[in-house]
Symmetry: D2
Subunit: 409 residues, 4 copies
């Protein structure tokens, strides 16, 4: 098989919105001999990972860790709480919300969709109306993506919770935080989430291969009556074994070595609130660059701008795939593609995980040069704008909450 790409010197800029740049410390932690998963040494590892993940989810409740991609944790959230034919309500906020919805359908659930144009987050008013109309409480769960990886649009989970409460509706609230957890503020308990879904390969700075559920008491109670067939994803055995730091089947031990290191970095060394501020800051700088280029941030409302990625609309007549290819070939950087209906139209800049100002600066320079080389119409000066923002003393940084051409005009 021929090499698809000539040798490229220097470090690859992996600026897709996940998997993210895994820190050397974490790769090295993973690169240790696998240990006996029934040993006392393992129990310490398992316990440390579970405890740390509770801190990250901001929950005092239960957490389970799957040897699986984030997609598996999606499935776990559904099969543990629901029964065949159950009705679920999904906000059509983007590609991943659609995929989760499709999964629910595959798992024999009945899916109600609150439609959207992908540029806005979950509409709590529409939800309220839906729930009010559901007098029989046929809707068993509301499924929301906290941060749409395909669009860079964030949803207000607390508002969703308030809408459910205001409706006095008993539906469970299931939230996907795959591209937000450990990058953007998230509060499982405070926001009243029943099941939170997460993965390892984004804000947690790990390779893919681990995924997570945080579980409320209400979700746990629901799992006792859930009738969807399940075994691998079943919480019961996971929780029981987890109490001692173990797993009911062979866990992905080496990725857990990495998770322990990541939790140490996020919680003890940088501090979660600092992590969030860093992501906010880099996201704001990115939007300022986009705006200065005269391009449009795909997300439409400042309150919903993602801090982990920014999706950028291509000018009409220009294809993002070509731009990304030019950037990959010339500047050794991967950007995120437009997905499904956004294919060709939107490219995505990941600015999450183990990241900092100069990595972002290099990233934005790569985009600016790529726009030039690919002949995509743009104004110069995006990088300059970003640098101006990043070189302000950090304390004075109140995010402008503006982005895209609207702000620029």
């Amino acid at each position: 098989m021929p090499s698809p790409m000539p040798y490229q010197p220097g470090r690859h800029f992996l600026q897709i919105p996940g998997p993210t740049n895994v820190p050397d410390r974490i790769l090295r932690a993973i690169d240790n001999p696998t240990i006996d998963h029934r040993s006392a040494e393992f129990a310490q590892l398992g316990a440390a990972c579970l405890a740390g993940m509770k801190t990250v989810f901001k929950t005092g409740g239960d957490v389970v860790i799957y040897p699986a991609s984030g997609t598996g944790a999606w499935e776990a959230a559904l099969v543990n709480t629901l029964s065949p034919g159950d009705r679920v309500l999904v906000f059509e906020s983007g590609h991943f919300a659609s995929l989760w919805s499709k999964m629910a359908n595959s798992l024999t659930l009945t899916v109600d969709t609150i439609p959207g144009d992908w540029r806005r987050g979950a509409d709590a008013d529409a939800l309220r109306a839906k729930l009010d109309a559901d007098r029989q409480h046929e809707i068993k769960a509301v499924m929301v993506v906290h941060n749409e990886t395909s669009t860079g649009v964030k949803s207000d989970i607390a508002a969703v919770r308030r809408a459910i409460d205001a409706a006095g509706h008993p539906a469970l609230l299931l939230v996907d935080t795959i591209s937000s957890l450990a990058s953007m503020d998230y509060r499982h308990d405070e926001w009243g989430v029943d099941v939170t879904v997460a993965g390892s390969q984004k804000g947690l700075m790990l390779p893919p291969g681990l995924s997570f559920n945080a579980i409320s008491a209400k979700a746990l109670a629901a799992s006792k009556h859930s009738r969807l067939p399940k075994s691998y994803w079943r919480w019961e055995e996971m929780l029981e074994a987890g109490r001692k730091g173990f797993f009911p089947y062979t866990p992905a031990t080496n990725l857990l070595f990495g998770l322990r290191e990541a939790l140490k970095m996020l919680i003890e060394e940088e501090g979660l609130e600092n992590v969030f501020r860093r992501h906010d800051r880099n996201a704001e700088a990115t939007r300022r660059a986009v705006c200065a280029w005269g391009l449009e941030v795909f997300a439409q409302h400042p309150d919903e701008f993602s801090s982990s990625l920014t999706a950028v609309l291509m000018p009409a007549g220009f294809n993002e795939a070509e731009l990304r290819e030019v950037i990959l070939r010339n500047f050794n950087m991967s950007l995120g593609a437009g997905l499904s209906k956004l294919a060709g139209k939107v490219f995505r800049i990941g600015h999450l995980g183990n990241f900092n100002d100069l990595m972002l600066a290099g990233t934005l320079c790569g985009v600016e040069m790529g726009l030039e080389l690919a002949g995509v119409p743009h104004r110069k000066g995006g990088v300059t704008e970003a640098l101006a923002y990043l070189s302000q003393p950090a304390v004075s940084q109140v995010a402008s909450k503006e982005g895209g051409v609207h702000a620029a005009v």
Copy 2:
């Protein structure tokens, strides 16, 4: 949390029957920056892994790779081929056969069991009788564990196939090779297996976190009509994406780096047939040691001795857990515990994966010294017997096919 074990110098002997000792080359391959899973570079990786796995399964058919433990591939084999309430037939050959059976039950299948005392492999005659009796062809699948990790008993898969064919029965043949693949000869196509289940952390010499299905055309056809709910495990999208070396959701990229390296070592460098011969040789040496100690190999029939692990019966009145603890504390070696009904009664020596004569010699010395220190009645000389066998010129090694006290007397 207190350290559960004082500092132990030197290399830990991880002689559980999996996870196994991961070679440095493979750990280092895993310890590389995660790449874009939608890139051309990734497509090469994915294609190389899938092609190599076909060679290992000895199949020209389809293979899928899951970011999951082996347990997940068990589930995949069931949910892709069967429908709610379908009847399946399981040989109760050991702990893992029981777990797989329990999983089938959890997934709403109806489980028929061919009972066993765990010391013998699958009984093809009993199967034939069962299938002959099933005039309505209600049995949709026969589930067999090729090599029982809990007992060290191997089943004759070709004989199972012949029994099904002789009965003219259309049931699918599903086989677990988690602790045999890439350690013991296995032939998916030649033996007429419909779904083979495997995991990364044994003969493939990887950390846990990947699992596999090899799929016959018949199994693939069955999957079109299967009605068990499924999404994560669904073959269809995996096969479609896999044709180009991709995955339908984020794969465990770094473990795939390791898999590519493992396949290179197994197929190109050592050669699968040499791998099998090495395991046969080390297993025979182990049994000779056990026999010389006056202990009994748990597996009863020489044709069914596992080449990847040996389970050893403790003398009456002595608990394997104590022995293993003595060995762990004094000699920095982990052995496999007795599982479920064998708890306390059997310990297991893993001699599979990235292993050689001196690693085995150290392992057997650890057992012999442990027996002494733990006060377990035994005869001396097990190591001496093993060395005598291992120091014969390799060419003359025709395995004795005897083991345990019966052979010794």
Copy 3:
């Protein structure tokens, strides 16, 4: 001991002019079990390293590899060729030339210096005059630094050779290529160099700990009569053992693992000429940024601009140490300090080794933001200029050979 720096997320930008950013592949090659340095396997390693280094030096002659810093290879060049009291001639081209000169003095040699202001390279005319005046041929060696790491000034080695030849003088030509080899074109044989000195931690992309001599036949002949005491550095045993790929004492085996990988990348994968072009390009972009900032490149003559680093003069009244501290604290980047008489006055940007356009872009952004935050007077737009240069199609890049404020005006 307190941590001197708070936790800094993301990748550190190590932009000192060496040690450079070691590629992951090389770190992972080093991270392998040490092997027997008297084994056949080692002999292959040693032979591959020696052969590859000859290609890098562009020599058909002898090469030796020391387990030592570059400073050790300086000493080796002297003690193998000279005798107590011998007169040597050194161009005072910068801090490292001065250190090498000081070393010669410590080793009991008599040092003649051709003075310089550090902003220009070796003056071949001055050399010619010196050699012409040395009727007795008392000068035994001419010592030149090819690329001054303290100043970013390159010397024309071919011109130095021509001057020696024109003078008909028998002095040996000893050249330090520590910060140029494998970054900038260098030709040991063609340029008639007698001993070339190099180290591992710059263009060779390795950690420090290996150093090298390339040796002409004339130098080898001189070594037979050299009377400086020597043992560790003695070529004779090194060359004899090296013929079989071995070393006369324990070599730094793991760094040799890394060297083999580095040579594969430089020679087989990227190609040396491409490596040089890449460095030229990144250096030119750097100078354009400096120029746009209104700062001055320390090197005065375009023909002498280094392609591996750029030293930049601070505006009067501003201290480079403060600027570097601001950049380190705020942007997680290390730059090179001003050394000895340039302390406080010059900072150095390393753009060598495993490097590419976006790493450079991030680097220049860090400098531009640092200038702003540290209150150093400058014009904006350095990054913009660099990007403009880097986003031209590579084929049209004829280096402007201009830099600094002179060019800018």
Copy 4:
């Protein structure tokens, strides 16, 4: 170049007496990005390494660390303390003593030798006589190898010191601990050593590439007047820079990462006294095996048995090179060759560094099987004897202080 050895599965047993088996933790520490050697972060690293090495040397005095093999630290000990023509006294205790002596000669020193047959350590009485006879105090230094790597014979350094003191002689005491430090008890201050020489690749469990001098006040004073030419090895700049954790030239940063980890393991985790006891125990077990085989330990006196390696005499007419080749090819283990006059006659078993009982057991099994396969006359039962010793409760282990055929008869 053809591969010299077919693929060998499993872990290589590197049982030469150094380089030793580097622990994964240390390799992984080395496998981290190189940092700026002039940074505050580096200063912490340097300071930690220097402080830890003082603990290992058991000195309150100065220590320097060279980016060099142990051979370099030999040279440093001589060139820092002596002047051209100075007389030194060397015990001819083995191959490495001879090499050090040869080095002294190369460095223009005058070497007096106290001859020996290599089977005994330094003879304090002979030394006393030599010193008494040296009325003019022409002897400036006494050079002793603490533990001869070529023979497995240990010398009594305290006795050597007493002899010097008894003679009232001012000679410096220079001691090579390359294969003993951090494996066998050693006390720089208490034993009155002036310069101790050590290397990284033995008891310190690192790859080769670092070496050390521990320096007494007397040695330091001597260095002020020493006239041997020196620069790379000069203590003065090393000590001055070292006071702040720095180095006068680029240090081998990544190996220092490893050293810091090794010191943590040796001092904080296992404890030096436990390290010594472990080596004593494994050495005793080895000698018991040798004795049971009917072979002879090369070291003649029990008080002088090395705890880090055991040299074994081949029966007359049998060549150790052939035995080692058989063992390497069949059992993937490297043993130490016979050196210089012992070539063909002695093989050496390294049992030092990151080692434990089962690694030793595997090693001895490899030797026993190798003797069988190579047709070397021996009695069976060496491994059995070793296991009997190792399976005694550790507390009762009073080393027998006997070895070889004399003890066996």
